[in-house]
């Protein structure tokens, strides 16, 4: 199921969609399934499941630490696909966010086929732009999968046009020039970027990088179709590493706050 359906449904309700990110295998495999289910039950419209990678150039220390914990715990690519299967079964569109090498190593066509049969909606690829991604674009099209590429404040209008033309599902707008991580204030680069992106495509535009509370979500929801939250969720679990039940309760509470934010 394309993520587009969830965005359209949110738009029909006059609000932005809430996109929640957590790495598969963090804090462990079963724990990651429990945590992502909380995101689903507490109000996320789309799930972005991180595939842990050894060299996550776009991630800040919070997500890198979580990904490393997942890798140290033995999380494999095939485990990530199992988590996709569990989460997609809830009916919420589930995309995998992954750096490119693990997909290339797994085999691009094979990955697309296995992701599709697990019920996954598609991929978000932080280090693969459409001009380097012909093989993925072909495989995704063949398996009816979403292709979510990123646009950045530094993107030229020509690149935004090229990137959005290759996207399916939604477009991921990185709101700041920087890596992932919760920030105290939202970026003043986000709104102009969303405006430029919307001028180029009919696709929904989600804004990510830095959102950590309902107020920030509400602010972004005024101009974006989706609010993407990652590091704040990971941080919540890291803050309760010795008490998993408390961590899940805190996750529930944060998700509900954010879900209210996108509805204001």
């Amino acid at each position: 199921m394309s993520a587009r359906l969830a965005f359209d449904r949110a738009r029909g309700e006059g609000r932005a969609a809430l996109v929640g990110y957590l790495p598969a295998g963090f804090p462990d495999l079963a724990g990651s399934i429990d945590a992502v289910r909380v995101l689903v039950e507490s109000g996320c419209d789309v799930i972005e499941l991180g595939l842990p990678y050894s060299d996550p150039v776009m991630d800040g220390p919070t997500i890198q630490a979580a990904a490393q914990q997942a890798l140290d715990g033995g999380t494999r690519t095939r485990d990530v696909l199992k988590v996709v299967e569990e989460i997609a079964a809830t009916g919420v569109p589930t995309l995998v966010m992954t750096y490119w090498n693990p997909v290339e190593r797994y085999g691009v066509e094979r990955f697309a086929a296995d992701l599709a049969s697990a019920g996954g909606a598609g991929l978000i690829t932080p280090d693969l732009t459409p001009d380097s991604g012909q093989e993925w674009i072909a495989a995704a099209d063949a398996h009816d999968l979403d292709k979510v590429f990123l646009v950045a404040p530094s993107s030229t209008d020509e690149r935004i046009a090229m990137t959005t033309a290759a996207c399916r599902g939604f477009v991921y707008a990185t709101a700041v020039m920087g890596v992932t991580g919760a920030r105290a204030t939202t970026s003043d680069l986000a709104a102009p970027l969303v405006a430029r992106t919307k001028a180029a495509t009919e696709l929904p535009v989600g804004v990510g990088l830095g959102v950590s509370n309902g107020d920030q979500a509400a602010e972004i929801a005024e101009y974006a179709d989706g609010v993407i939250v990652g590091s704040a969720f990971v941080r919540t679990l890291l803050d309760h590493r010795d008490d998993r039940a408390a961590g899940l309760r805190a996750l529930d509470s944060l998700t509900q706050d954010l879900a209210r934010g996108v509805r204001r």
């Binding site: 996550p56 190593r105 590429f149 990123l150 530094s154 020039m177």
Partner: protein, 410 residues
């Protein structure tokens, strides 16, 4: 400095055959495009090229000497020539690359540079170039390397650079590159990334090669002038591969000249503790380029190992990957033991203490010399790039050889 694109050059998108390209966050694409245009314009501008050559000559001390190591040659039965990049200012070939990139930074109007470093040679060179051009400089260095290269950390600090230890991952060069890339994503409007080797996304592999190609251009001309002929083989160590590609480029079109790259074999490739990326890695994407990568079944990078921090990298420059696949260059691993034996040999036969990186090149070359003699007789000539001097590695040498414990024991 750059002529028409040759058969070994990258295409417009930075691919050397199947390798290279640009696998990077969109946030950096504009900066990479800007850099590509600036670099091409600069290399076509005689004023820029002239200024670069003048700085290399007057400040860095190039051309470096081509030295016939006669005592060593007598010992191995073939003519061994050493390209003395260790005599350059800051003690390694790295100064060529950073002076080129820093001059380009100045031309682009940026005031801050960042760099990553393993052994510290590139960090020292970057800090030096930043001081020379009056640029603010931050150097990322794996925490493990900060400990094993304390002298170079101090040199960088004395030169005015800020050194930031990186604890993430294996806390070595690859993690320093990740951290530098993160800095660059956030600072790209006013910061240039002085990439330390001929790897990474386009245009770095080609740009770094162009700034280092003086090594080979000089060596080729010196060889013809001093000996009236080209060498039968040229040899260099390959971590990321900047000194090697700088040497090799001048000889690639000379089909009779054998091209040898020597990779860090660590404890031995069979032990799994090594950094022999071309020999034992597989095609993948790391740090923005498709190349050979030490990786597991899932594409996760495997931590590399080498006694030489400067070679301790699980990837390799994409042009080397392409040269290996095309068979134009041959890459073989050299173990820590072999490299340290070569370090001692050169020290004692010629009075030259090489960097452990360069000792890999020498060890590999000497291992391959008997076959070269079989092919060419006693006139066989091998040209080895002595890419750096060993001062920075004395801590490792003291530990390895047990030096200085008892004066007089040696």
């Amino acid at each position: 400095m750059t002529g028409q694109p040759g058969r070994y050059d990258a295409d417009e998108r930075g691919f050397f055959g199947d390798f290279g390209g640009r696998f990077m966050p969109e946030a950096l694409v504009a900066a990479l495009d800007e850099l590509t245009v600036a670099w091409r314009d600069a290399m076509a501008d005689p004023e820029f090229v002239g200024e670069f050559e003048a700085i290399l000559r007057d400040y860095a001390g190039t051309p470096s000497r081509l030295y016939h190591a006669e005592r060593l040659s007598d010992q191995v039965g073939a003519r061994v020539l050493l390209k003395r990049e260790d005599l350059n200012h800051t003690g390694a070939h790295k100064i060529r690359n950073v002076l080129g990139q820093a001059l380009l930074t100045k031309r682009m109007g940026k005031k801050r540079v960042i760099a990553e470093t393993g052994a510290g040679q590139h960090g020292v060179a970057s800090a030096t170039a930043a001081a020379y051009f009056g640029l603010d400089c931050t150097v990322y260095m794996g925490a493990v390397d900060v400990r094993r290269q304390a002298l170079n950390v101090a040199r960088m600090q004395l030169l005015g650079a800020t050194v930031i230890p990186v604890d993430a991952g294996s806390a070595t060069l690859k993690d320093a590159i990740n951290e530098a890339l993160r800095d660059w994503v956030a600072s790209v409007d006013h910061t240039a990334y002085l990439f330390g080797t001929a790897a990474g996304p386009h245009p770095f592999p080609s740009m770094v090669r162009d700034f280092c190609r003086g090594i080979g251009d000089e060596a080729r001309a010196q060889c013809l002038e001093q000996f009236g002929r080209l060498p039968h083989a040229v040899a260099a160590c390959v971590g990321g591969g900047s000194n090697a590609i700088g040497l090799f480029t001048a000889f690639l079109e000379d089909d009779d000249v054998e091209v040898w790259g020597f990779e860090p074999g660590g404890d031995g490739v069979e032990t799994g503790r090594h950094a022999a990326t071309i020999h034992a890695g597989e095609s993948g994407v790391l740090h923005g380029a498709r190349t050979y990568v030490l990786q597991d079944e899932d594409g996760q990078t495997i931590e590399s190992h080498s006694i030489s921090a400067g070679l301790d990298y699980p990837g390799v420059g994409p042009q080397h990957a392409a040269l290996a696949r095309a068979g134009r260059a041959v890459y073989e691993p050299v173990t820590d033991v072999e490299a340290m034996e070569a370090m001692a040999l050169l020290s004692r036969t010629e009075g030259i203490i090489p960097a452990i990186e360069s000792a890999h090149a020498l060890a590999g070359a000497l291992r391959s010399v008997p076959a070269l003699i079989e092919r060419h007789g006693p006139e066989a000539t091998v040209l080895v790039n002595l890419s750096g001097r060993g001062d920075k590695d004395m801590g490792t040498a003291i530990e390895w050889f047990g030096l200085g414990r008892e004066a007089g024991a040696q």
